[in-house]
């Protein structure tokens, strides 16, 4: 502790001012390594010859000041402070041969390497950005003629495809499942279609059989189908509310009339 105070006294006024300025915009730093790099500049030496011990002292002094000013430091700054305090003790004390792990020198060398590397990256980043840039210093073709992509699709088939296709159809016919022959079937849809336009004329009760399509009364099969679908269609029209339906007695004619 006494050491620290002594150290602080040795720090010049200019450095103290610089350190205070650092505190003011601690937010401007990108983490402890960035701060360490900035602090290292006060040593005004080649980064390879930097005194990590001095740097650790500077950093710890900075953290102390920040605490005194009641500035909230992010956790990683404090982690770094703790680590640097540990490093400082390692560097100051003679190495303990029984202790395992890297020596203080090793740790210090790596920190110096990290700082040098970060500085090097910043330097080359600046050199990179200072290069001639496309769209700023040199330019691409202003009016690029885009390559027209002509996509042509051709379809192809082989004789085999053709024959197999045909065989498929023909054999499908051979194996065709039973389908009702639709010639003598009058569907309900057809019945409805027939009845709708006639509806308007049905002011009086009329036998539904008078709605049968022409020519369907003669063939018994057709008659059956047409009668059934006409009846079903009549019920549908009643359900829709267009017609009334009645049957006076069992097996009597079923009659239809427009609803009034």
């Amino acid at each position: 502790m006494a050491d620290d105070i002594f150290e602080e006294d040795r720090v010049s006024v200019a450095e103290r001012l610089a350190a205070e300025a650092l505190i003011i915009d601690v937010d401007g730093f990108e983490g402890p390594l960035d701060l360490l790099l900035t602090l290292s500049r006060t040593q005004k030496v080649d980064l390879r010859k930097i005194s990590v011990l001095d740097l650790a002292r500077q950093y710890l002094a900075f953290v102390e000041k920040a605490k005194a000013l009641r500035l909230e430091l992010a956790a990683d700054y404090l982690v770094m402070a703790a680590w640097l305090a540990f490093l400082k003790s390692r560097l100051l004390l003679p190495p303990d041969p029984t202790e395992e792990g890297p020596s203080g020198e090793d740790l210090a060398a790596h920190l110096a390497f990290q700082l040098e590397r970060l500085q090097a990256m910043r330097d080359v980043a600046a050199r990179l950005m200072a290069r001639d840039q496309l769209g700023r210093d040199f330019f691409a073709r202003g009016q690029a003629e885009t390559v027209e992509r002509v996509k042509r699709v051709t379809y192809t088939a082989t004789l085999l495809d053709l024959m197999q296709g045909y065989a498929r159809i023909r054999t499908r016919d051979d194996f065709r499942p039973f389908i009702l022959d639709r010639d003598s079937v009058f569907t309900m849809e057809q019945a409805l279609e027939r009845m709708r336009p006639l509806m308007g004329y049905a002011g009086e009760w009329t036998d539904i059989l008078s709605y049968l399509p022409e020519g369907w009364e003669t063939d018994p099969v057709k008659l059956r189908s047409a009668t059934a679908s006409t009846f079903a269609a009549s019920l549908e029209l009643v359900k829709e509310g267009h017609m009334d339906i009645r049957q006076t007695e069992l097996f009597a004619p079923i009659q239809l009339r427009k609803r009034k």
Partner: protein, 217 residues
Amino acid sequence: MSQDIDEQEQSLFEAPPIAEQERMVEAILFATAEPVTVKDLSARMPHGCDPAEALVYVRKRYEGRGVTLMKIGDAWAMRTAPDLGFLMQKETVETRKLSRAAIETLAIIAYHQPVTRAEIEEIRGVSVSRGTVDQLLEMEWIRFGCRKMTPGRPVTFVVTQAFLDHFGLENARDLPGLKELRSAGLLENRPPPGSMPGPGDAEEEETNEGQSELFED
């Protein structure tokens, strides 16, 4: 008066050599999206430059090259040489297999021609989409035949010479019959799923009949 000032300025800022001006014109014309007038060039180049003269050099330099200097209205632009336009196209040919619907429709036309659309639909058991017929017409594998002498006089379809060429046929009658297809093992003997298997012999006779009918006339 203004000329005096010009002259003064010219002596103060000497114009770059014409070779340098030529480079400038070249770069500006290259990088600009629109054709550039001499006036525009003048405004962009250092004082004292003579873009009109530089343009003469540029034009000469690019004579017969892959890129040429062109005058468009009163402006100038660099364009690829007209004879190299074909390089700006990249044709990709994609070959696709004809759809099943198209193959079946085509097969029916080939085996039954001349055939109406209604007849195709009857044979296929499903309606034939307009797109399918259009595609086959576009490929020039089918064309319209004469109208059928039935009510409505529907159009018929027949296959074309291009179709015969593609499939290596001399005429549509060369198409193998069902019996040949079967003996060549091309006919799927297995009935489509869901349909009932019938006695093979009877069926074969039937189809033979159908086939011979087709090509009887």
